[in-house]
């Protein structure tokens, strides 16, 4: 069971900054190194930016994960936006539909340990990523 759950509503570029700051402090509270906290904050920044650019608004939920032998952090980004028609294409480096660098999702996958995405056209996108404390 998660002991902490922080919800951040994402609807503007200011909220991206808030989400990544909250993510960094939760990561530090959970005992992550400041290097790992930077990786987590960067991943949150990319996920929150995708919400603002593609869906307009959504939310980021930050939670701790208490495994039997290890502790981790979960970041869940969800929106009710247009969804991603071709998820496997969106996970390839260099692919973008909004004129950005197109490194968002594959980059986030590299920054974190676990990555799950569920997206259907017209039904929004849910991305859940985890990082375990080494």
């Amino acid at each position: 069971m998660a002991r902490v759950e922080i919800l951040v509503t994402i609807s503007s570029d200011q909220d991206i900054v808030v989400a990544r700051q909250k993510g960094r402090s939760l990561a530090l509270e959970l005992g992550f190194s400041s290097g790992d906290a930077t990786l987590i904050a960067t991943a949150i920044s990319e996920l929150a930016r995708n919400i603002v650019s593609y869906a307009g608004s959504g939310q980021i939920a930050l939670k701790d994960v208490q495994g039997s032998t290890r502790v981790g952090i979960t970041v869940a980004a969800s929106d009710n936006g247009p969804g991603i028609p071709n998820v496997s294409q969106a996970l390839r480096d260099g692919f973008s539909t909004s004129g950005s660098l197109g490194l968002g999702l594959p980059g986030v996958r590299r920054l974190m340990d676990e990555f799950e995405i569920v997206s259907k056209p017209g039904q929004g996108t849910n991305v859940v990523v985890k990082k375990w404390r080494p």
């Binding site: 290097g35 960067t42 950005s100 920054l111």
Partner: protein, 120 residues
């Protein structure tokens, strides 16, 4: 949060604070380009020592700043990327290719002075 821009001779120095939003970065981009024109600056140093996250947007904006300023005939150098930030940037695939970087403000100034000598 506005980024202060200092003028030191032919060089402009912009010092990033932590927690810059996209709007702040866009504002900095136009302010820097305008001031390079206004002061006929030959070099720009962007000090990102205080930045704790460099995501794809920040990185793209820095590249755009450097390229715009180069088109204007001046040189840009990014200084103070923290080791942890550098590590996250590489994981994310952000290399700031084609943009000069230096360890800190002092090294950045030394780099620009060297450039100015060869430009003469």
């Amino acid at each position: 949060m506005e980024v202060p821009i200092l003028k030191q001779g032919a060089v402009l120095i912009a010092t990033f604070q932590a927690a810059l939003s996209d709007a702040d970065l866009n504002h900095l981009r136009s302010a820097l380009v305008q001031q390079v024109v206004r002061f006929r600056s030959r070099g720009v140093i962007v000090d990102v020592t205080a930045m704790d996250v460099m995501d794809s947007f920040a990185s793209r904006t820095l590249r755009e700043i450097a390229h715009m300023i180069r088109l204007r005939g001046a040189e840009t150098v990014i200084v103070g990327i923290q080791p942890e930030v550098a590590f996250a940037m590489v994981q994310l695939g952000l290399t700031l290719e084609g943009v000069a970087t230096a360890l800190d403000l002092e090294e950045g100034l030394a780099y620009l002075n060297q450039k100015f000598k060869t430009m003469k």
